[in-house]
Symmetry: C2
């Protein structure tokens, strides 16, 4: 008998392992070539298996990409979720910037995968943006606004502040080539993330000190 396609969910040990292996390989390929630029053969080779074997675990290229993207968003939003209304405003913001820079440093492929999707108009996660991202950002924006009203944080538009933090931190993952080219060989070592973190923190937090 032909085996039922295991695409519904991981059952056996092998299925869990292979599915994970495929996602890792796909992340590598999708993040550097984009969805259409990536081929199933490339992903299969990166995962060390044949193309039909890969398609045994995921029904289509679409499904791999979609799985990757949906799984990513949670990880991606975690740093913002951690921003707590109870903490000290400046400390909380500093922590948020830190966590975002660390993600750019430790998960650049995830960042580029996400950037690729956004550049193309979010055809596959568009709905998630309004259903998950927007509510979370609105909630945290409210926290920021309360801090500002309480005089514990300089006044600025909370949404655009969050955009600015996203943009500056993710820049070091998405535009890595450019950053490295501009900094030159001597300053483009791994320390660039530490330098970036300090600069971004100083820029934003200096301007946001209550006055």
């Amino acid at each position: 008998m032909t085996a039922e396609a295991p695409a519904t969910g991981p059952n056996t040990r092998i299925q869990r392992e292979k599915r994970e292996l495929i996602l890792g390989a796909a992340l590598e390929v999708f993040s550097t070539h984009g969805f259409r630029g990536a081929t199933i053969d490339q992903i299969a080779e990166a995962a060390g298996m044949s193309k039909p074997n890969l398609l045994y675990y995921y029904r289509s290229k679409e499904e791999i990409h979609s799985t990757l993207l949906h799984r990513l968003l949670d990880t991606w939003l975690a740093p913002l979720r951690e921003l707590s209304a109870e903490g000290d405003p400046l400390k909380e913001l500093r922590g948020y910037i830190r966590r975002k820079i660390e993600m750019a440093r430790d998960f650049p492929r995830e960042s580029r995968l996400f950037a690729n999707e956004m550049l193309q108009g979010a055809p596959r996660v568009g709905e998630m943006l309004t259903r998950e991202l927007k509510p979370l950002v609105d909630e945290k924006a409210k926290v920021l606004r309360q801090w500002m009203r309480a005089g514990k944080l300089g006044k600025t538009d909370p949404h655009h502040l969050i955009f600015a933090i996203w943009a500056t931190t993710q820049h070091y993952a998405d535009f890595d080539v450019q950053v490295r080219a501009v900094l030159g060989l001597d300053r483009a070592g791994e320390g660039r993330f530490e330098d970036a973190a300090r600069s971004i923190e100083a820029l934003f937090l200096e301007g946001l000190r209550p006055r």
Copy 2:
């Protein structure tokens, strides 16, 4: 006689017009689908001509993309070139931020084309980054550093400051879908660029006031 391919340079009126028409169509297609995601047929259709006709004006898909990218870089660097060592530091920086936000608003496709190229590791303009971009940035970084030493500008790493300005402004073009989704229908009108400009200026310039 068979006509010589006009790919060497624009000669007749028709050639100039059609070449421009093709570049416009190609910008639209490349910026939303990336290089590999775009097809010659799509570009040809967007330009209102047949595929062989398009290939009469440009020898290959590569050549169109490359032309677009090289032509773009000059436009793209213009705002930074305008930053003058003679002017008032804070006014100069404010002007630079303004110009960059205006470019994100008026030329979002160009921004996305560039972002796409960067995301993929700048395979086609990598050399231009070190030959043109780096020297320019280094020159302007020196200007910023002089201002800082003279006490006319708060101290921070000039390179990372420039990165931050790039990131925050281009974010509104490259991540437009996300920005719109988060701001919601009511705040996502054209005014969002004006709001963004004010927020970014306030954030950066407040923190950079000499103290």
